[in-house]
Amino acid sequence: MLEIKNLHASAGDKPILRGIDLKVNKGEIHAIMGPNGSGKSTLANVLSGREGFTVTLGSVTYEGKDLLAMAPEARAAEGIFMAFQYPVEIPGVTNNYFMKTALNAGRKHRGEKELDAIDFLKLIKEKAKLVQMDPALLSRSVNEGFSGGEKKRNEILQMAVLEPRLAILDETDSGLDIDALQIVAKGINALRHPDRAMIIVTHYQRLLNYITPDFVHVLASGRMVKSGGKELALELEKKGYGWLENKEPIRSAS
């Protein structure tokens, strides 16, 4: 589904990623862990198509297409979803209207019939239950005045509405108390599907207590320094990142 090969990228002028290789198949959950400054967020930003990040070498292929050549809206329409670390507030645009517009933009792109207001409201009410979202937040402006937990829940709600094939969750656990973390994790688990892959980017292991990954990768200084199964996350929890930072990068045989 997604194949990253020897990816080098800069944030502004600063080289951050120095050769990332990753292959994600449908249905798989990959956790990408690493210390601050290791390049986790840069990787997520490059995959979502944010401006200010430049790919200097390597490739990213998604469903056989060159992902890096696609505009952000095209990536979304093709089934990629990014849950942001810092969701943006949009005063004057209601949450309901925003999600309906986004959903219908995708449906239009795929040649499907757009949902009318009534069908959409039915859908959103159903999905809101998944993340225990207060329905009042649906008619408020997008993320405006939301608490940290409400913003993250809103990200997962958007994911539930848009039903992506590949979801990238960037530090979704940051700033959440334990109750909010459990609600968000429950929402994510409910969206696990054999046809849907997820990449969970996280500094801490705690989110992985609730969402069991199939693979764990450790990023340090812009390179993947170790990959393993779910037990690797626990090892990192015990030993920290220090023992891995000087390791040689691992490269897939390509």
């Binding site: 952000p72 809206e73 979304a76 942001f84 949009i90 933009a105 792109h109 958007q158």
Partner: protein, 264 residues
């Protein structure tokens, strides 16, 4: 009492007992004590409004002229004790528009709200000049103007609030926000406070900015095409002012004007 002869004004409710003097060049309207009414003004150029004690008036002004037209209008408002004046001024089109409001807060506990939205494109120039003079104590004024400027349009907001020596416990705020849609559009903002009393609460601020790249990216990352996301953000900026209008036909007219101007 004289009924309104001019076609440019409409009063809501139609039987509101407004007192009108149309004998001079300046149209004079008095809102009698305790009277509550709304006034929609689509073209008067010189107007004086007096609100007697406990009166309330919501005033809507729309200026929608041809791109070459020159329009100047002047509104003077006197607010007596415990009366409230709320205005919504929409400058929607015109080559050169200059709209001026002078408000005298003549009674204690007078309330004044001045809201405004100016939408300019092409080579239009739109100017707003406001003066709120707090003369007596315990007055409240809220001023909020927004502008959207595209192509080579120019916008000016010039707002002065004076708090006189006797106007203690005045609570005043003044905000002006501008959204520039092109690199050749210009906005000037001069919010100004002149405070002579010593026990008051006053604040002012202004911003001139462009569409937020973060908001734009967030929408695009959800699959909304860039042009549609831009339109939605422009609409959101303007709708904050349009949504303050309670009168439904007027609100629809404003939405249409916004759509015609910026295709949102």
């Amino acid at each position: 009492m004289v009924g309104l002869k001019t076609k440019n004004l409409s009063v809501l409710p139609p039987d509101a007992p407004l007192q009108v003097d149309e004998t001079s060049e300046t149209l004079r309207i008095r809102v009698p004590a305790g009277c509550k009414a709304s006034l929609i003004d689509e073209a008067e150029s010189r107007l004086t409004i007096t609100l007697a004690e406990n009166a309330e008036l919501t005033y809507y002004k729309l200026i929608q002229e041809a791109p070459q037209a020159v329009h100047q209008s002047f509104l003077e408002v006197q607010i007596q004790r415990h009366a409230a004046f709320r205005s919504h001024v929409f400058l929607l089109g015109g080559g050169q528009i200059r709209h001026t409001i002078h408000v005298r807060m003549e009674g204690e506990q007078a309330e004044c709200v001045l809201n405004g939205l100016y939408l300019a494109s092409g080579e239009e120039k739109m100017e707003t000049h406001t003066l709120i003079d707090h003369i007596k104590p315990h007055g409240t004024s809220r001023e909020f103007y927004k502008g959207i400027l595209d192509q080579k349009a120019q916008g000016l907001f010039d707002g002065l609030i004076i708090v006189e020596k006797d106007a203690q416990k005045t609570d005043a705020s003044q905000t002006n926000k501008n959204l520039l849609l092109s690199s050749t559009a210009r906005a000037n903002s001069n919010p100004e406070l002149k405070i002579l009393a010593n026990d008051v609460k006053c604040k002012h601020g202004s911003t001139i900015g462009q569409i937020s790249p973060d908001q734009l990216f967030y929408m695009r990352s959800r699959g909304i095409p860039e042009s549609q996301a831009r339109r939605l953000l422009v609409y959101a900026f303007a709708s904050e002012m349009i949504n303050l209008v309670d009168h439904v036909p007027l609100r629809e007219k404003l939405e249409q004007a916004l759509f015609a101007k910026f295709h949102v």
